[in-house]
Subunit: 228 residues, 2 copies
């Protein structure tokens, strides 16, 4: 079969700004999550389910990235959670500079967790470090179990993989065993959390993993003496 | 609500190469379709359903664009249809130069239709003219009816919008009336075809629309005397 390779594009580096973001997050003891997925995989629903699971224990804010519209930030704010909407105006990912500007609108010292909802895309967001502590991705059952073959990088760089919409497994030809096997081969240390954000099933193990990461960052800030 | 606008990035122009592609397609009387969608929306399934509907009348080839893997081209070739796989190695869209190289591996004079399956993405492919006669997009029901708000450009530049996986409408909270209304407001002339590529329902009107476009290009080539 004929195959043409285009090669990898050279990327702008925004690592310096991202490192500055990260230093500010660490000093404040705020865990920052970069959540990535295709359009419609359930990023906002998963954020809402995560907020419901953790809001009694942690102070949470959300940064919403979209090409256009404010609908996601409005959904978050309707639940009483601070939210900043970033509109990329066409760009397929967030970068560290807009994260810095968005964080400037939040009270970092009054937070434990910031969830960044990246632009709906399995490709572009993988290339850009924002200063986050972890990248996590969502794949939803309707997208199909073959996606790790086609978009390997996002599975390789994610510390955890959420398989969302598991309530629709009976409706789709999705081989969960094959999916888990391919994810494991691409990224042996990745945790896989199967859940339904809208039904609320399976959210607890994911929330527990995230709480552990929040505690680690908070403990590090406390031990360095930076945290009030 | 706080909103930050990143502005639109400056794009490389590949319009000259795309125009050369288009001249070659027109001279050979081959209609070329650029098919765009999110990962998992059903691009390959829709192509297979389209092939099944039109292969008796037209000679068809497929150019498959993916970041990695050959699984889609293998699926097409298994049905006896010529297919060229492009691996972008990280790029989130196809460009005119790789289309030219892929077309070089096909017998243009022996074809009536080339379907280009772009990389799974609602953003990047909208910016690049490949020389195609029409861009068409697929949205699938599980992705949600709010996607035109978030990714307006792809709905604006598509001559037709396929709403796929309509067999799953009972399972998802998808408002088809609202979807059609928003698409119509973004793009009043766009045709919307609701279908299920895997079930085969609703494919005939889409195939008829495509056949009409194929005939137009073929008639133009015949009248210009270029077609053998």
């Amino acid at each position: 079969m004929a195959t043409i390779n285009m090669g990898k594009p050279i990327l702008d580096k925004n690592d310096r700004l991202a490192a500055e973001n990260r230093a500010a997050f660490d000093a404040a003891g705020v865990f920052v999550l970069d959540l990535m997925a295709s359009p419609g995989a359930g990023k906002t629903s998963t954020i809402l389910a995560t907020i419901a699971a953790l809001r009694e224990r942690y102070r949470i804010a959300v940064i919403e990235g979209d090409v256009a519209s404010k609908v996601d930030a409005e959904k978050i704010k309707a639940h009483g959670i601070p939210a900043v909407q970033i509109n990329t105006g066409g760009a397929c990912h967030l970068e560290a500079d807009v994260i810095a500007r968005a964080v400037g609108q939040l009270d970092l010292d009054g937070l434990d967790l910031i969830i960044v909802e990246n632009v709906g895309n399995l490709i572009c967001p993988t290339e850009f470090y924002l200063g986050e502590h972890a990248k996590v991705m969502i794949l939803s059952v309707p997208e199909g179990h073959d996606k790790p073959y086609k978009y390997p990088q996002i599975f390789q760089i994610s510390e955890a993989v959420i398989l969302n919409k598991i309530d629709t497994l009976p409706v789709f030809d999705f081989n969960e065993d094959e999916f888990r096997s391919v994810v494991s081969s691409l990224n042996p240390t990745a945790e896989v959390f199967a859940l339904s954000a809208t039904a609320g099933t399976g959210v607890a193990p994911w929330a527990a993993w995230l709480a552990g990461r929040i505690e680690d960052v908070r403990a590090a800030a406390l031990s360095s003496g930076g945290l009030k």
